[in-house]
């Protein structure tokens, strides 16, 4: 992995009024050119906030420190002009809810054209429209000529997300940050949209940061995975290693708590308790109150990320955990 697109180091985020409690603590991650990386975690784990901070999308009440370099260029603290020139052209974002991401008063064609023309002033309206049409074809929207002049309310959820993807790829970005892009969609539509996203990224050599809570989506899309819990990265590994030999007890708990599509259904193993909030972070390891392996050191000291084989995990017991017994699914 030579060509690093995004290099995040020691990202810290705090919000005004939180009395020094940080919502995101010391997050470091990298995404290489053409690579699909998944950031997994439950609500409140800091996965979306981290990515939004990088894009400069957090409100003024957020204090962001650390570094996030995109192709060597620092994004944290960068001027609005710098961020504007990058977002939508070199870095694009796809959000969960395609309806709120689109302007209800502009036709689809105008919205795609706008994304093209805002970064390329010399493209004529007619040319932009031609390219918008081609983009609709690229994202496999039927009857693109007719659809170009329609408005978001005339599209179904899956079609809207295709339009959002068309806008995201309009300027052939190097990196797409997709925040739960299929969570609002039905399974059959989700499968289509993920296939599309996978194909387009592969075709254009685009890096993809896929934020999701769905481990099934992770398994199908990602090459590498970062697992976040309570504002920190607790494990980073290749996708096969995450599912076969998860190093962190939280990752193991997530995998065990999933109902299976094969196997005899038996009692699920739930992770007891609830994730902490930034304001009620426990001492030591943030996961220790819910961890069945927790010892005294876990209650006192915050674990640092250590290497375990090819993975890294933030766990005091990483090496001494019993082997993870994988329940094999066959399809």
């Amino acid at each position: 992995m030579s060509d690093i697109l995004l290099d995040v180091r020691g990202l810290d985020i705090a919000f005004f009024g939180m009395a020094g409690q940080r919502s995101v603590r010391d997050v470091s991650l990298t995404i290489a050119r053409g690579e699909t990386v998944s950031i997994v975690g439950e609500s409140g784990s800091g996965k979306s906030v981290s990515m939004r901070a990088i894009m400069g999308l957090l409100p003024d009440s957020a204090y962001v420190s650390g570094s996030a370099k995109f192709l060597g260029q620092e994004l944290i603290g960068a001027s609005t002009a710098t961020l504007r020139s990058l977002t939508g052209s070199r870095i694009a974002m796809i959000f969960q809810d395609p309806l709120t991401a689109l302007n209800p008063l502009l036709s689809i064609g105008d919205q795609i054209s706008e994304a093209i023309r805002i970064h390329n002033r010399d493209v004529s309206r007619r040319e932009a429209r031609e390219r918008a049409l081609q983009l609709l074809r690229d994202v496999a929207i039927p009857f693109p000529e007719k659809r170009l002049d329609q408005y978001p309310h005339e599209f179904s959820g899956g079609m809207r997300q295709r339009v959002v993807i068309a806008i995201a790829i309009a300027n052939k970005p190097d990196l797409i940050i997709a925040d739960e892009p299929t969570t609002a969609l039905d399974v059959t539509v989700q499968a289509e949209v993920l296939d599309l996203l996978r194909r387009l990224c592969r075709q254009n050599g685009t890096g993809l940061a896929l934020i999701t809570h769905d481990l099934g989506v992770v398994a199908g899309m990602a090459e590498r995975v970062y697992v976040m819990y309570a504002g920190s990265i607790v494990e980073a590994a290749l996708v096969d290693d995450i599912f076969e030999r998860p190093a962190h007890p939280y990752t193991r708990g997530l995998l065990r708590s999933l109902p299976k599509m094969k196997d005899q259904a038996k009692r699920l193993e739930d992770i007891g308790g609830t994730p902490p909030t930034a304001a009620s972070l426990p001492t030591g390891c943030a996961f220790h109150p819910r961890c069945s392996f927790a010892t005294d050191v876990c209650r006192k000291e915050t674990p640092r990320l250590n290497s375990y084989g090819r993975s890294i995990a933030a766990c005091h017991l990483g090496g001494s955990l019993p082997a993870f017994e994988k329940e094999i699914e066959t399809a």
Binding site: E42, V218, L258, D270, E329
Partner: protein, 341 residues
């Protein structure tokens, strides 16, 4: 009525054919007039539920799956009489709910309870947890003392702390709130509980605990569930039988392992193949059945089979003749060209 009363035995496979169904839905239809400022006079009504029939047996869990817009929520609302069905019958323990007036329906509500999807919206923000759980108990005309005892019993049952009784919903996490919703539903000892996407608003690590609780409670108390969800792996986990809906109709209904192991309806097969599996090796190998197009509007469903516009097996006959639900002994399905069993 107390928790320690005699439990209904869980149905064994052979008892199913003998025992009369607890909930019986027949030819249920619900039309919505396309109304509002822009509606044209004489325009087609939207038929959200287009003639649905099924049974739920005593002590069993029937899963109901389908994509958004398939009518599963309208169907559950009709069963609950939160909506009045256009035609058809819903009978619970032999009583036809569809024909009851408001007063008579109120008397039946203790047998039929519901847990809603969103534990943030379904609890009154200004009522204490204890009062929320106690509210349905007014149907039973209990003394204050008996009601208080019952509430404590319920809180223990759903594994909350008694100190939660004095709190307000905003002080509880999503999982805890859903436990309150379950306690409220079970407070009147219902025979039938409708679960409308009860875990889809919760985080993965919390979902498992709620699913376990629902299954434990059923084993102890013997009520039936109609479990409505779009997440197939969750449905598979909790259900004895599963019904698949598409555009207002049931496409297939079968015992759990039958439906997931050997789906007969092409739509069921497509739905199953679309579910992402949490195993990268499986994901790399798998061949998806990719459906083309979108769910048609229920205001103008396709002629013949409703699924034909997206079905890769569709032939001439599919557009002219609507397939009837038929049984092969194991599964019941509505298709001219079913998948191999």
């Amino acid at each position: 009525m107390t928790m320690d009363g005699p439990n209904h035995a869980s149905p064994s496979a052979d008892a199913k054919s003998i025992a009369p169904p607890l909930l019986s839905v027949r030819e249920l239809i619900k039309d919505f007039a396309s109304s509002g400022v822009f509606a044209l006079a004489g325009s087609n009504p939207i038929r959200a539920v287009a003639g649905v029939s099924f049974d739920v047996l005593s002590g069993e869990t029937l899963g109901l799956v389908g994509e958004s817009g398939c009518g599963k929520s309208t169907l559950t609302r009709c069963i609950l009489r939160l909506l009045t069905p256009t035609s058809g019958s819903v009978s619970l323990g032999g009583v036809d709910l569809a024909g009851l007036d408001a007063e008579a329906m109120r008397n039946q509500r203790k047998h039929l309870q519901v847990v809603f999807q969103d534990p943030y919206a379904s609890l009154h923000p200004r009522m204490r947890i204890g009062d929320i759980i106690a509210e349905p108990l007014r149907l039973l005309n209990l003394s204050r003392r008996a009601s208080d005892d019952r509430v404590k019993e319920l809180v223990d049952l759903v594994k909350l702390n008694r100190e939660h009784l004095e709190r307000f919903p905003h002080e509880l996490s999503g999982g805890q709130r859903q436990r309150v919703g379950i306690a409220r539903a079970l407070s009147v000892n219902p025979k039938m509980v409708l679960l409308d996407e009860p875990v889809s608003a919760l985080d993965v690590s919390i979902q498992a605990g709620i699913l376990n609780l629902l299954m434990d409670l059923q084993e102890r108390l013997g009520h039936s569930y109609l479990f409505v969800a779009h997440n197939l792996s969750t449905v598979r986990h909790i259900s004895n039988r599963v019904a698949v809906m598409y555009l207002g109709k049931i496409m297939e209904i079968a015992p759990r392992d039958q439906l997931f192991g050997a789906p007969r309806h092409p739509y069921t097969a497509a739905l199953l193949s679309a579910v992402p599996v949490a195993d990268p090796k499986v994901e790399r190998r798998r061949q998806r059945i990719v459906l083309s197009g979108e769910i048609p509007s229920p205001a103008a469903p396709p002629s013949g089979c409703r699924f034909r516009t997206r079905c890769w097996k569709a032939k001439e006959v599919c557009s002219t003749t609507e397939p009837e639900l038929r049984s092969d002994g194991a599964s019941t399905f509505a298709c001219h060209f079913p998948q191999a069993s």
